[in-house]
Symmetry: C2
Subunit: 313 residues, 2 copies
Amino acid sequence: MSPATNHLGIDVGGTKSLGVVVDADARIVRTARHATPHGADAVIDTIVALVDELGPVDTVGVGVAGLVTHDGVLRAAPNLPGIRELAVGDRLRRRLGRDVAVENDATCATVAEWRLGAGDGVPEMLMVALGTGIGGGVVSGGEIRRGRNGFAGEFGHMVIDPHGPPCVCGRRGCWERFASGAGMARLAREAALGGRAARVVDLAGGDAELVRGEHVQTAAREGDADALAVVDEFGRWVALGLANLTNAFDPEVIVVGGGLVSGVDLYREPVERWFAELLYAPEARPHPRLTVARLGEQAGAVGAALLGAGRAD
Amino acid sequence: MSPATNHLGIDVGGTKSLGVVVDADARIVRTARHATPHGADAVIDTIVALVDELGPVDTVGVGVAGLVTHDGVLRAAPNLPGIRELAVGDRLRRRLGRDVAVENDATCATVAEWRLGAGDGVPEMLMVALGTGIGGGVVSGGEIRRGRNGFAGEFGHMVIDPHGPPCVCGRRGCWERFASGAGMARLAREAALGGRAARVVDLAGGDAELVRGEHVQTAAREGDADALAVVDEFGRWVALGLANLTNAFDPEVIVVGGGLVSGVDLYREPVERWFAELLYAPEARPHPRLTVARLGEQAGAVGAALLGAGRAD
């Protein structure tokens, strides 16, 4: 890249689509955002609008939540209702008259954190993005690993409790039923329905069914013991999944990101304590370093820009 | 390697240690075996004895069950009582006056199946060895992946049911409590204690506590419905773990090996049926191919020979 080049990255999330332009030093020089509309055509239109708004640029990369194949087909997208088998790459190439790199959004965030953020460029790194659900990405041998089809890193749907609550994916006890934003809310509702967590229910307007993760966090910050117990339980579930991933990948660093990072001051201590407790053979191994993502909500868009520029590795 | 070279591989298992010499075409030309003794010094002596017995050779590789670091230190070995922090590589170098490659035994078996067996050399492959416990190995991007410390692929201690039975590792509900030889026996004992599996208990001499995996297999081959139900349940637990690994790694091929392969005629159908059922987004993805290991009990030793010869990739 010459110093004057500009690279556009767009992160198409379940609620909003964020575009950023980075320069040759990966500094953000422009940003724009739109609400993510419903339906395939409208999503493509939104991406094209962001390209028009933020252009001209030298390369374009797009991250999308869901199963994205190596050739840019979105096979399944639980958070984008009505979208399946959408050839995002081909559609954008035709509309824009240029090549567009299309990747899973968590893969994009992984690239950004690895190259520019909390991953420090280590050769063995995992990213776990705790949001509404759980996304993930894998760096091994100093390269992003996408697996056979591009679907590696779908950590959220690893079953960790076959007797657990039903998941949107049709099975039971997926990790993201416990360790996501939706998971924290569920743990809190269970506590509330069990007669605990009165303050949390208060904050939800008195209806246990309306409890959300932020009510737990607010009550926990006030020092409410029941809310802190929910946070501790949440931390244990997060740690259980991270320990499982450590068995599988043996990473040096695990970067924890996603929307729930805003509450990390609350659950960092429980996660770290439970992680040390749940790790296999903890006395015989260096413990992976757990770090917090540094690029915030822009990680996906920045990573998409890096991938579009061919700067993933 | 010149055509005349010979490569020795030794697989140190919990009960026996197997040595094989392979030629430049990876054909086995000599084998020997000893019982694996107890204690660090005796294990080293046994390896040295196998080298003396099978030599002269050009290279030596050793596979050991447990956490093996990149520089050949056995940090923890649940199946080799009394052994911890054993510098296998250094000890053998001193005794033999030559370099010796030391690796985890499942990593060795993975290399062998990938290069010469059921893995067909595909770039994205997992091996899962179902024996007394569960071992594993990872091929990604066309290379063996060992992780930061050499400990990747410890699939057996991924927790899949936190309310499950206690594991030797000190936690609860590890995958190998369900999907190993010990797991099948446990499932059968539970059925027996619940008043089912009368024929299985018969075969165990009338004592439900003495039921082992082979009793289940014998009764299932006779067509006993209770035994077949245990095999089905076992197949579901195997499949659950394989589906989890698919989410994490997105492999093209999963090779199932280890001692339990002898019963694969019984559980192949249940494993495949449950795998298709438990896979995340099964309609949106090519299903990984499940294949049975082809190198049998010699996989570990052959893989150790290949790794010793520097022919892992």
